[in-house]
């Protein structure tokens, strides 16, 4: 039996817009237009995956080389902001054959799929993967409606 879900008419459109934006970002990123000094400022970094269940919204992002103290995670009612900076590590007297990794400052504000309670946010950064767990606002939680039989 399926639970009643909120009618979200723009959800499909938002998803398509996000996909479009990501594909544009991928296109410009991989074609070498992503210069080290631009990184983060031009492309939407980091890419974020959202998931959710009845009570929580989860966000995950890949931020290799960073620790929790290197980033700022801010949550307002329906917005998540990730901000930080990745410093390059330069070995002394090295000659570079290949540079694919990106460095620099990044800041990204994302609209959350549901309203959350900013007081109930947990964040972990392990092995370069950031996981954020946000509790939905009471009103946003899906409630099961009991249907009585006449």
């Amino acid at each position: 039996m399926s639970m009643l879900t909120r009618w979200q008419p723009f959800r499909e459109m938002r998803r398509e817009m996000r996909r479009f934006r990501r594909e544009m970002g991928d296109f410009f990123g991989r074609r070498g237009l992503e210069l080290p000094e631009w990184s983060g400022a031009v492309i939407s970094y980091p890419p974020v995956n959202f998931s959710g269940d009845g009570d929580f919204v989860y966000a995950e992002a890949e931020l290799p080389g960073l620790r929790l103290q290197d980033i700022e995670v801010t949550v307002a009612d329906n917005q998540l902001t990730l901000k930080g900076k990745r410093e390059p590590s330069l070995p002394a007297k090295a000659e570079w054959h290949r540079r694919e990794r990106t460095f620099g400052s990044f800041e990204r504000a994302l609209t959350l799929p549901e309203s959350v309670d900013p007081a109930k946010v947990e964040a972990r950064l392990e092995n370069g993967v950031l996981t954020i767990k946000m509790a939905k606002h009471e009103m946003a939680k899906s409630k099961r409606i009991t249907v009585k039989a006449e």
Binding site: R14, F50, L63, G65, H97, R98, N127, G128
Partner: protein
């Protein structure tokens, strides 16, 4: 200037290799490669990979990187995915003489750092010129 040695990447699709037993997509990690007088070094972004999940091999001048990713503990149903999650794989041909015994690798915060020290005979040696 020291003679530069070629480090050419061999994309996995060009290699006639046996199929991996694990199905699924392999992602190519972003890698920076540098060279100093003493070593060739690689820095690879492999988020989600712990040191114990790495399989790094060096054989016949080929460096194979395989990083298994922990299945993500993403609870609930996916709402929006901007990136995929999967194991990392990449193969490089290292065109320089490497001292196999001294290869070292460190993995921290999802970044793998590999040091391939050059063989003694390849290191540039400064020859002192004496005057008579």
């Amino acid at each position: 200037m020291a003679e530069t040695t070629a480090v050419s990447p061999k994309e996995s699709s060009e290699v006639v290799a046996s199929e991996p037993t694990r199905g699924g997509v392999y992602y190519s990690p972003r890698v920076d490669i540098y060279e100093t007088d003493d070593e060739v070094g690689l820095l690879c972004d492999m988020p989600g990979v712990r040191p114990q999940d790495l399989d790094v091999r060096f054989e016949n001048g080929e460096l194979t990187l395989l990083g298994k990713v922990q299945p993500r503990r993403m609870s609930g149903e996916s709402i929006d995915e901007e990136y995929g999650v999967g194991d990392f794989y990449r193969l490089f041909t290292i065109g320089t003489d490497v001292d196999n015994d001294k290869i070292s690798a460190v993995c921290r915060d999802g970044v793998l750092s590999i040091h391939l020290p050059k063989s003694e005979k390849l290191k540039p040696k400064r020859i002192t010129v004496k005057t008579d």
